[in-house]
Each structure stands twice: as C-alpha cells, then as structure tokens.
Amino acid sequence: MQHIVIIGNGVSGVTLARHVRKLSDNKVTIISAETDYFFSRTALMYVYMGHMKFEHTQPYENWFWEKNRIDLVKGYVEKVDTLVKTVQLANGEEIPYDTLVIATGSKPNKFGWPGQDLEGVQGLYSKQDLDNLEKIAPNKEICKRAVIVGGGLIGIEMAEMLRSRKIPVTFLVREKSFWNGVLPAGESALINEHILEHHIDLRLDTNLVEIIADKNGNATAVVTDKGDTIECTVVGLTAGVTPNIDFLKTSGILLGRGVKVNRHLETSAKNVYAIGDCAEQHEAIGNRRPIEAVWYTGRMMGEALAQTLCGNPTEYAPGHWFNSAKFLDVEYQTYGWVFSERTKKDCEQHFHWRHHKEKICITMAYDKKSKLFLGINTFGIRMRHEIFDRWLTEKRTIEYVMEYLKDANFDPEFYKQYEEEVVAKYNLEQGTNISTKKKSWKRIFSKA
C-alpha cells in the first residue's frame, strides 16, 4: 500500500483522490491551506451574489471523506523534499509520502503595478478572496466604486458580482474589444454591448498605470494610461492567473511558469506528479496551451493520473477542445477551435450569424478549401457536446454540420429554434442549397 499525498483540494486533486480510492486501496492524503473541504471555485461568485450559501458550493457532504478514507490535512506546504520524500507544513509538521501530486492551482496575476498590494486591491480566485470582498464591498455605501482590471472571464464575473449589489463598476480592458484575443469580432462586439446594457462603465483599450493609496494604505483611485484618474475603494485584479508554485522553488523540481510535466504528468522528480492549473506540459497538446487553467482539464488530468498511480500507466490525452462560460446573462459554449481574427490562420474561414434583436449568435470555423468543420462558438444557444465531439472525430464538413444542426441543439423544450435562419444565411452567402434535417433521436443517441 502506497501513501499518495496530494497538495491542493481543488477539482484536480479531489478527482484524483476519488479515482484512486475507486481503483485501489492506497492511502490518500489531501493537504490544503484554503478550506477544510473541497468546494467549487467556479461558484464563489454565486455566494457573493446571494444565489447560494458557501456550503452549497461543496459537492460532497462532510462525511464523504472519512467514509472514503481520504485523509484531509489543513496546512500550508512550505517545502517539498524529494530526497527523503516528505513535505513540510508551515506548522513544522512533516508528512512522508510515497507518491506526491502537486495540484495547487493558480493565483491571480500581478504585473508589478504600483499599488498592487494595497488594502482594497484583490483578485477573485480563492475562498479568502471571497471573504475579503465581502468585507471591502458589502454594499454600495461602503464601496462607492470598484475598478476591475483585466478583461477576461474572471473580470466580467467580478463585474457581475459587484453589480448585483448595485456597486458602480469601471471595467478596464486592455484590448480594443472584450476578449478579442479569443473571440471573433462579431461575438466580442455582442459582449461589449451586453456589458454596457448592465450599466458597467466599460473602458476598452485602456491599461492600468497605478493604484493610488490614501494615508491609511487603502486604495482610493486608479490612474489609467489614458490619463484618467478614477476614484474607487475596491480594485479587482483579474488579468489572468499564474501557477501557484512558489513553495517549490527550493525543491529542485523542474519549473517553468508551472511545474513542468510530460504526458504522463510526471515532473522531473521521481514519484512526483503535477496536475491541473499548476502543471505545464513540455510541449503543448494540439492547439491547447501548455498550461490549461480550465475546470475540466484539471478534472481530466486527475482521471488520467489515477490510472497511472493504480498500475495502468495512462497519458493525459484530452480529446476535442470544448469550453463554456457565462457573460452576465449570455451563455457561451465552444466546441472545436474557433480562433479570433488575431490568432487564426489564413485557411480558417468563419461563418457568423447573429439574431436581429436578442443576444444570440453563432460562429462556425471551417477550412477554406476542404470545408472541413473546425469548430463552433455559440452565444445564447446551447449545443450538445456529444454531437459536436462526434462530428469533429468524424471530420465532417461545415455543410454536413449545417444540414444536421438540429440534432445538436440542446436548448430547453419549447425554445425558439434558429437553425433555419442560420442555414438560410449560410446558403445565401455560399450560394449553396442546404436544407436542414429534422431532429432525430436515433442519430443523436447512436454511438458512431
């Protein structure tokens, strides 16, 4: 029986622990300094907004861990000694391991802005961040204005959170249009509009220069590169995240931006693995980034590594890319690859359809010559993961996708369907004559 020690009780570490328990009788210990029990980081926003209580973010009841013999240790790991195979906690305790898994996730980026460590300045990643935000921005009387720096997914979530308590929000976005490094222009424009509809003071093409302190060391204003000074009491730093691995600097484990791992998720040290946000692939897999700070990739690495640790060496081999997010009231899903104008190759062609009134649109990417379907982004329409995964595997053309698009719709019953409109627009643009096939349960549930 091996002792597997996991640092970090996020989705990667916990998925690994659960699967190891299913597959083996190994002793499993999870160490975390953040919370006693696993919670879903993605739901922190809903706690602040009053949709849920913190305990609702915990996917497993508290008895789960003991029942499944997963030992939980609350403590901060200060040092890892790979020679004697122990980890050392801040309270001096040493925990020996046979196998060590680093799953410590991320921390918010700070790019050396003057004033970035003042009171009232914070990111939104951890439980502590949530608790602190509740303290500094409980209502619009105490928090007169908040400035959010960084136009990504966490930034817009933080803006939504603060707006739910009617706190005025200024949103500084470096790009000329929201998230346009990832989203094609039409979609990015749709989100810009939607942000303004929510009465968020969106400032595109604007960078943070410095955060000014009052005499007590609290943030009191930010200065932008446009020369504006914006008074505020809270500054949200949401310019991306970076692996949370400072404690490994003296360990001798090979580090890049994250913990360097191979496809088996092995680090440079024997019996030490890394998974989730903090792991950095030596070479990126497909079009994916070497560090994938995405919920489900953490889970998938946990699923794969559990196999390896239980005697079935398994590579981390993610399938087709997919993801989702919600921008205020607009849901977003993506399957396959749709690149933005800034990142796409010449052979990638886009088809874009947008509803004339609602915040609903679709962008499909395909190969200019072969018409091979590359990916789809949808806003305000839900799509069936299984179907797109199948079509990507089967290397279908965009025309095939158009024809069978109704099979992929995942919206609730009675929702208005837009496939006819989408296909009509495609036909008009391409001079084709595709007619949509009726939705078929048989096709949807056939395993191709």
Binding site: S40, H51, M52, F322, E386, P412, E413, Y415
Partner: protein, 526 residues
Amino acid sequence: MKIIKNIGLIIFLIGLGVFTVLPVIGTYELTPDSFQKFVANKGIKSKLFISEIETNVVGQSVVGMMAFSPKITEALELVNTTHRKNKEYKKIIYIGPHDMAAELGKTSGTGFIVQNKGLLWFLTFGLGIIGALLFILPNVILLGQKGVKNDGIYHQSSTNQGWIAWMVFLFLVSFYLVLYFRSEYAINWTYLVDPISESLSGNPAGHWFVYGFMYCTVMSVMAVRMYIKYRHNIYQIVRTSSVLFFQIVFAFLIPEIMVRLQMPYYDFKNAFPLDYDFFFQWNLKSLLNSGGIGVFILFWGVFLTLVIVPVMVYFFGKRWYCSWVCGCGGLAETLGDPYRQHSSKSLFSWKVERWLVHSVLVFAVVMTGLTLYSFFAETGTVLGLKTASVQNTYSLLVGAIFAGVIGTGFYPIFGNRVWCRFGCPLAAYLGFVQRFKSRFRITTNGGQCISCGNCSTYCEMGIDVRAYAQKGENIVRSSCVGCGVCSAVCPRGVLTLENGPEKGRINPTQVLLGNDVDLMELMNEK
C-alpha cells in the same frame, strides 16, 4: 419603482391584516327559525340538546366566534355524555363539534360583515391582489436584462429562513389548522365569497370554497411573478400557464358547476391515491346513485390511475402530472417558488424521503384495500381492523396534517415540495414508473459541468443534481417532477429535460466526455 413596490407591500399587508382579524370579529345570533331547520335537516332526536341550545344560544347575540363556538361544542359534549351514560344510543349526535359550530355559525352571522360582503371582499382579497401585483409588476423593469435572477435570495430574511420566513410559516400553519380543525373560525371568510359561490354552484360558500377560491387567487398572482422572473424561459411560461389552467378550470370551476347541475362534485384531474377517499363508501355510494355521470366518474377515476397516469409517465415523465397539472404542484410552483432552495439535499433526507413517501403509499393502498373489502363484503371490520378508524387515521395524519399543515405551511422553511417529496402517495407511484419505465430523463451535456451547484441548490425535490451532472450522468430519479429549473439556472448549458429512447437513458460514467477516448471506453463500458 421601489416606491411602487413599497406601496404595494403596504396595501397587501392591510388586506392581509383585515383577512387575519376576520375570524375573531363579527356578531352571531342563532334565530329559532334557522335552528329548527337545522334540527329537522340533521334529524336530531336529542331533546336535551335542543333545549340546551334553545336556552343558551338561540336568540342571543354574541360578539366573536370565541364566544359562540364553545357554547355549541360544550352543549354537544354534555348531551352526548349524558346520552351515553343513560345508554340512549339513538339520541347520540354524530356530528363533529366544530363542524356543528361552523354550520350553526354560518346561519347566525349578523351585522356589518354579512351586510357588506362585497366591500369586505375588496378589503381582503381585493387589497391583497392589488398590493401583491403592485409589488410584483415593477420587477419587469427592476430585474433588468432577462435571464436568471436569483440575486440576493440568500441575503433576504424572507427567502433565507429569516424572521419574515418564520412569520409566513406561522401564518400558513395557523391558516391550515383553522381550515382543518376549527372551521367555525372561517365563517366570516365564507361570507366574502358567498356571492361567487352562489353564482357558480348556487350554494352559499363553505370553508373549502374559501380555500379553493383563495388557492386560485394566490396561484394566479404568483403566476404573474413566475412569468416575469422566467420571461426568458418559455418552458417555465408554458408550464406555469398549464398548471394555472388545470387549477382554475378542473379543480375549481368544473366541480362547482357540476354541483349546480345536480352532479357529484368531482375534480377530473385528481387521481387516486392522491384522491385518497375516491373509493370510500360514501363516495362510491354517491357516485352509484348519480346515474350515468356517476358511473362515468367511477370508470374515469380507475382509468386515470391505472392507464392514463402510467402511460403519460412513460412518454413524458411524471412532470406531466406533478408540475403541469396537479394542484399541489401548482401551488408549490407559484406560491412556493421563492422557497424552492430550502429542500435539503443531504443523503439523510433522501433516505427519510424514500421511507416516508413509500410508507404513505403502502398505507393508502392498504386502506383502500380494506375499504373495498368492507364495501363488497358489507362489513365494518377486516381482520379486526375497523375500516372507518383506519380511514379516519389516514384522513387526519396524511390528508390534513401532512398534505395541508406541513405540506404548505412548511414552505418558507423546508422548501416548497415537502408534501410532494415526503408524503404524496401518487408521487411515489408515478416515481416508480418514471424510474423504471419511462422515456424521460434530464440529460447531462457531456463534460461541460463545472460543479457550481446552482442545479442542486434550486432543486425543489432535494435531488443533488450536481452529483450526477459532474459525473456526466443523466439524472433519472423517481422524485424528479420535471420543473426544469435546474436547466434554467445552469450557467453552462449542461442540463436539459428530454423524452428520448429508453436505451442509454441511464448512463453511468467514470470518465467524462472530452477526455482520452480509450480511457473513457476502458472505464465506462462495463
């Protein structure tokens, strides 16, 4: 807008206040005439009782039901004890003391309330409706962009089990206690709706008519709230309309009109065993004595339970009944919607749920078995059990306390489906069909779940939806009533309610879609 809301709240509270004091005010005077009629109608043979009432009640004007009711109940008790002692069994009066107080009280009301039914209707129901609408309608603007609007639910006393919620709890529980056990205190309420009742059935209103009318009113007003809150979600809008239609037309109007047409009172959508007294002797007799329509109802009631219910559940899941048709479900989905998050998701609650709800089903079936045996064998006892006392126990424990007092009274604290989840025998029956033979499931969308827990939090049936969604598994649970809110609140488009082929409906997965294909096959194809 905020001001309009506050004005609405004040108007509503005034209406509620007037409604709340009505039971304890008003004057009552029993006239010799109406008492004689009562005696003749009920065939009361006890001279002692007649003289008791004549000396203590008749012709005396008393203020408040608290003064009137005890005179009746005490007289009745005294008289019956005396007759029992003297073994004058034929003279014993078999009418419940509070039923008698209610019946005599209804004919005795005098003064302002009885003379101003319309005005008082306006001061209670009218102000309540206007106030509530003024409170609800500004949300069209206040809620902003359409979408899921659950902001602040856990910050507000009313929806976070705070003091307002406890006040509502207290009010609802007291209301149901009056309705089931002290109906004489509901007499003043019945006067308000007399005109409506007379225009429908031709009879003055009883307390159950008050309840039915109020039920429809509350549902209609709260349906407006649903329409605004879920205006982006057409499934919710259609479903709310359906449940409102069945309540107003099937549960309220049709039975009243049937009475006017000299037919038995019957709610065509109320299926046995929820309609637990359908096979009771008095009902069977009344149906068999009602000619063609009675026989049709008898046939329909059996057909509904044995054929329509399971066949519809096979095709659409139990939602077709529980959240599209049923009256209990209708109230839960309208009045109860603000409290849906309070159903417990713990494994312990699930265990309690399965024991309780199935016990009630067994109880209902056994009771009905006894009832039918008694009916055909023409005997009052089966295996030493008195059929009537089994029926009374069920009516009291399940019919009144569980379905009424607990079922609705506990909304603000334990969620809006306490009865449906823990007590409804029909739900248990539909649940078996849904779990083992149905096309219905909530489909989980591959690997998109981020375990946020919105679905579980807002599941009114206490299903830990996330536990399935985060494993990529479809949700196939007997308790699911298909309200569709898990799908509505999901921020990532992971859940949808579907009726599809049975094959692959239950899909246990270890490794989710999106991971290594070989690994998925290895782990999932067991």
